[in-house]
């Protein structure tokens, strides 16, 4: 690792000021950033730890919406939304392993937007709003391709607001070594329609499978999906699975998610 200083502000305002310094970068749970610092893929002069900022931690639930602070760990999300949003709780409780879940945060996951990460699927399928220190961004506008988001330099995710669907489920086909999603599908049924978000599959990162959404909005059952498929074109192909394999998994997992959502 290159050398850097760590600052630990206790308010969003102080963190934003600290991030205004030359070559400063936010540190969430470090579960993605520390490995990339070790690999010298990043070389910040200052890391601004968000860990001591209480105002961006915790979960609240109100009138069909769950609001999660950007600095909330996966373990806390799994615990706190168990009753209010069970599908999201299950997703959070299945990220990596217990030690990763005790450090990694929802804000860090959404800021990183790894093409195989779990939370982006939940945020996109729920029609979430990403709240930062300066603005609110609809999930549909937020995710802009692999490792790319609408966030500006130095912008901090302070919270995420997720409308709670009537029925929902996330099904992930685990890549057994990394425990990330080889493909993961989040299906969310709302009163006014169904949203289907797919992670792990596309070279464009998380995406909505609109054809499936239309079919499911008329008839929320796995049968409604028979015959539907996504093209293998533009799907990630690597040593873990070809583009064709991933495309096939998208259709299979969407059916399983609908069945699991009930």
């Amino acid at each position: 690792m290159y050398s850097f200083e760590i600052e630990s502000p206790t308010s969003v305002a102080d963190a934003v000021a600290a991030l205004g310094q030359e070559e400063a970068q936010a540190l969430g749970g470090g579960q993605t950033l520390i490995p990339s610092l070790k690999a010298r893929l990043a070389s910040p002069a200052v890391l601004v730890s968000l860990k001591n900022i209480d105002e961006i931690k915790g979960v609240s639930s109100d009138g069909g919406t769950v609001t999660i602070g950007g600095g909330t760990t996966h373990a806390t999300v799994a615990e706190e939304v168990a009753d209010s949003y069970p599908a999201l709780s299950a997703l959070a409780g299945n990220i990596g392993d217990p030690a990763v879940r005790n450090r990694g945060t929802i804000g860090g996951s959404l800021a990183n937007n790894d093409p195989s990460a779990c939370y982006p699927a939940a945020a996109l399928a729920s029609g979430a709003t990403i709240v930062t220190n300066t603005r609110e961004i609809a999930a549909d506008d937020y995710f802009q391709g692999m490792f790319t988001t609408a966030l500006e330099e130095g912008e901090i995710i302070t919270s995420v607001r997720l409308p709670v669907p009537e029925k929902a489920a996330y099904v992930k086909f685990e890549q057994p070594a990394s425990r990330f999603a080889l493909v993961g599908v989040f299906v969310a049924k709302f009163a006014d329609g169904v949203r289907v978000a797919v992670t792990g599959a596309s070279e464009e990162g998380v995406f909505r499978w609109t054809e499936a959404e239309e079919a499911l909005s008329g008839n929320f059952s796995a049968d409604a999906l028979s015959g539907l498929s996504v093209p293998a074109d533009g799907m990630i192909g690597d040593l873990h699975g070809s583009g064709e394999y991933r495309a096939h998994l998208v259709a299979v997992l969407t059916k399983r998610a609908v069945a699991a959502a009930g």
Binding site: E5, I6, G30, I34, K38, D97, P98, R103
Partner: protein, 161 residues
């Protein structure tokens, strides 16, 4: 350099560290607590698991500066006050839960938080919780058995394979 103050295995510790000092480096090189092992250094293997404020974390994927004010426990802090092995450690010995022993500190630390959260886990729950702890020797079977035994459950149904 920043000054960090924390308790490690009940003792107050205060040291100057650089921003990029990992918790593994702090424990092993500064405090000479070499029970916390470094297997992969890429947050995959779990040999470095310690407790920070009662929670399992991978010490290779946390900076020492982030432990400011925390209560840290390492494998060196797991034995009973009189130096005898704790229930979990003794169960690992009794049920051959280790061979080379490299993964064992992380296994014991992870097992301890599991049993705190879930005092009588099923075999499936144990295997699931150990997802981030890799062992190259035992095939996991006797580790699972040791943890079952440490939780006071009958292990006669788990055959040694």
């Amino acid at each position: 350099m920043t000054k960090v103050t924390m308790t490690v295995n009940g003792k107050a510790v205060s040291k100057e560290v650089s921003g990029n000092t990992l918790m593994t480096e702090f424990l092993r090189d500064e405090l000479r607590l070499t029970g916390t092992h470094v297997g992969c250094d890429t947050s995959q293997c779990g040999a470095c698991v310690i407790h920070v404020d009662g929670k399992s974390v991978k010490a290779c994927t946390m900076f020492a500066a982030e432990a400011q004010g925390a209560a840290v426990t390492t494998i060196e802090g797991m034995a009973n006050a009189d130096g005898s092995l704790s229930v979990i450690q003794q169960a690992f010995q009794d049920h051959h839960g280790l061979q080379c022993g490299f993964c064992t500190p992380g296994m014991v630390m992870t097992a301890a938080t599991l049993l705190k959260e879930n005092p009588t886990p099923s075999e499936h729950e144990i295997r699931d919780y150990l997802e981030g702890n890799i062992c190259r020797c035992t095939g996991y079977h006797n580790i699972v058995k040791a943890i079952m035994a440490a939780s006071g459950q009958d292990v006669s149904g788990i055959a040694a394979e």
